[in-house]
Structures are given as C-alpha cells and as structure tokens.
C-alpha cells in the first residue's frame, strides 16, 4: 500500500503515520457537549463508526459494476436508492445518483480499495474520490429509533416505504445527510463534517424523551 500515480491522478495514504492522532467530525461534540451514557432504559442508541473509508465512485454503471464486483465482491446497485452489502456487512456500495455511488469500507482499507479499483478500471472514463475526512457514519438503533427519524426528516421511514437495503439522500433537521437501512434493526446516517456537530445535538434533543444513550 504505497503512493501510486495513475496518469495525472496521484493516490496517497492520507494517514501515513499512525502516531498522528485523528479526530472524528464528532470529537468536538463529544469533548465539549453532553454525552448521555447508554443505560438499560435507553430506547434509542447512538453509535459513531468513526474513521471508516468513504469513496465516491462516478462513471457508467456497467464499467463500474465489473470493477466493483472484482474488487469488493459486491454487485453495484443499479436501481435508484439501492444499498448493497458484502457478506460480512462491513463493506457497502450505495446508489447516490444515476452515475454516482458511495463505497464505505473499514478504516485503513480505502487506499488499497481505491488503487485496486483504479487497476481494474484501467482507461475507462470514471472518477474516484476519497471523502473519508469529509464525513462520518453514525448508527441509530433501538425500538424508538424510527420515531426519532420521523421527528427529524420529511422522508417516509415506514418499513413499507423504507425496506432494508435502501438508502436515500434527504433533508434531516434542515440539514442534509444520507439515511440508509443496512439491517432490520439498524439505521445508518452519513453526516457531513460541517453538519455533524449540529445533527448530533439535534439527535440528542430529539432522543431525550427516549433516554437516548451514546455508545462508545
């Protein structure tokens, strides 16, 4: 895993020295705001999955599908609002727009995945951007998680309208984020760094009546 240049595109490790501390977009909120602990009475649980690898893929569906299958073993969701996960559930590919997909992989894998995708794509017309530093992933679970979402977004989160394996970009508390449902009981929110602090405080406020707890 080293720096490789593909034509005019340089890929490089964004965190070459592990002794340099990293801060998630939510670190300010965690360090300066309130962090209610999860208890047995918490009916909504909030958990940040910090420092995952986020990649934006752009290009034609057919050419990207082949490369993503080869590198990640996931077929690219071709239908609008699709979300596909690998067998372990750790890697996912989400449809964002007709020519744009979001790939999320465990932290530290993003450079390797990007380089293998570039190798597989060759001279095809595409773009890959590492956006790991710009956003973070948050999980909401618990019996009242859906009610918290209903208070926050105009999007219909009823299970009939929002089945497992769907993901949308939508309005959330006047900000915007990506809302997705990888499993039956867990919701994922992909937050922009600049909105993270605000959305976190909103979620705590909205979840107060459900005794929301933040898991470390």
């Amino acid at each position: 895993m080293s720096d490789i240049t593909y034509g005019k595109v340089a890929t490089f490790n964004t965190h070459p020295d592990t002794s340099i501390p990293m801060e998630s977009p939510l670190s300010v909120a965690f360090n300066t705001g309130s962090v209610p602990a999860a208890t047995s009475g918490s009916r909504v649980l909030f958990k940040e999955q910090a420092f995952l690898g986020h990649l934006i893929l752009r290009g034609g569906a057919i050419v990207l599908d082949e490369a993503v299958r080869k590198v990640l073993g996931i077929s690219l969701p071709g239908q609008p609002l699709g979300l596909a996960l690998d067998a372990s559930g750790e890697r996912s590919v989400q449809w964002l727009s007709p020519d744009e997909w979001l790939v999320i992989v465990p932290g530290g894998e993003e450079l390797d995945v990007e380089q293998r995708l570039r190798d597989a794509l060759g001279d095809a017309h595409y773009a890959i951007v590492d956006v790991s530093g710009g956003q973070t992933l948050v999980e909401l679970s618990g019996e009242k998680a859906r009610e918290l979402l209903m208070k926050s977004t105009p999007y219909d989160v009823h299970p009939e309208a929002f089945p497992v394996g769907k993901g949308v970009t939508t309005v959330f508390a006047k900000a915007n984020l990506i809302l997705r449902r990888p499993t039956e009981e867990r919701w994922e929110l992909v937050l922009r760094r600049s909105f993270a602090d605000y959305v976190y405080r909103w979620i705590l406020d909205a979840g107060a009546e459900y005794a929301i707890g933040v898991e470390e």
Partner: protein, 124 residues
C-alpha cells in the same frame, strides 16, 4: 407542501429537497459569435412568463443532485409531469390534456417498425 416526482430517483420526494432553476428548453445559440446583440440578449436575459402551462428546469438539490424538467401550471400550481433531461414533454400549451397515449404508442410502433426494417435491411 408538494410532493414532486424525481425522474432519476423514481419516487415522490418532499418539495424541500428541490430548487427551481428557471425556464426549461432554452437552447444556446450554436454559433454565439455570429449572433446579433438582440439574439444573444434574448438568449441570456429574456424568459417567458406564461399564465398556464410552463416548462421549468428544476434540480433535486438534496437528493440525487440531477437536473430535470417539470411541466407546471403557473396559475393553479398543478404539476402535470416531470421528465428527464433530453426528453420531450407530454403536456404543453398546444396539448393541455397531454398527447394521447395512442399518439405516443403510434410513435413507438413507428420507431420499432423502423428498427425492424433497419435490421432486415442489415440482413439483406
């Protein structure tokens, strides 16, 4: 509050996610250098403001971020259809009830016939 159908996400979304971007189907002059000032000014600055059916460009700003077209009634605010870039509207001031499905089907049949004829031509 409106629910607007995004032709790319293929579902109805809240109005809050969209932004209007003005009149649709404005073609840029192919050769700006040879335009008169009047033609170029009309292209840049002058827009229709009809009472009734109007074609508009909108963007699904908080969503797929794609531009698409809406046929809208400026008097009643009714949204008659949304369609992708490059497609032609079914409703227009000349066809306020919409081009009938038969007309549309006729076009498709003609197209298919043309394709078949072309294929046969290739075989021959």
């Amino acid at each position: 509050m409106f629910y607007i159908h995004c032709p790319y996400c293929d579902e109805y979304r809240d109005e809050e996610e969209f932004h209007p971007k003005g009149q649709a189907h404005i073609a840029r002059p192919e050769d700006p250098e040879s335009c008169t000032d009047e033609q170029w000014g009309a292209y840049l600055f002058f827009r229709d403001n009809p009472r009734g059916i109007h074609h508009e460009l909108w963007v699904h700003a908080i969503g797929c971020r794609k531009f698409f077209n809406i046929t809208r009634n400026s008097a009643s605010y009714e949204i008659l259809e949304t369609y992708r870039m490059g497609e032609q509207p079914r409703f227009s001031a000349e066809h306020p009830e919409g081009k009938s499905a038969e007309q549309g089907a006729a076009v498709n049949v003609a197209d298919e016939a043309g394709v078949v004829a072309g294929q046969e031509g290739v075989k021959a």
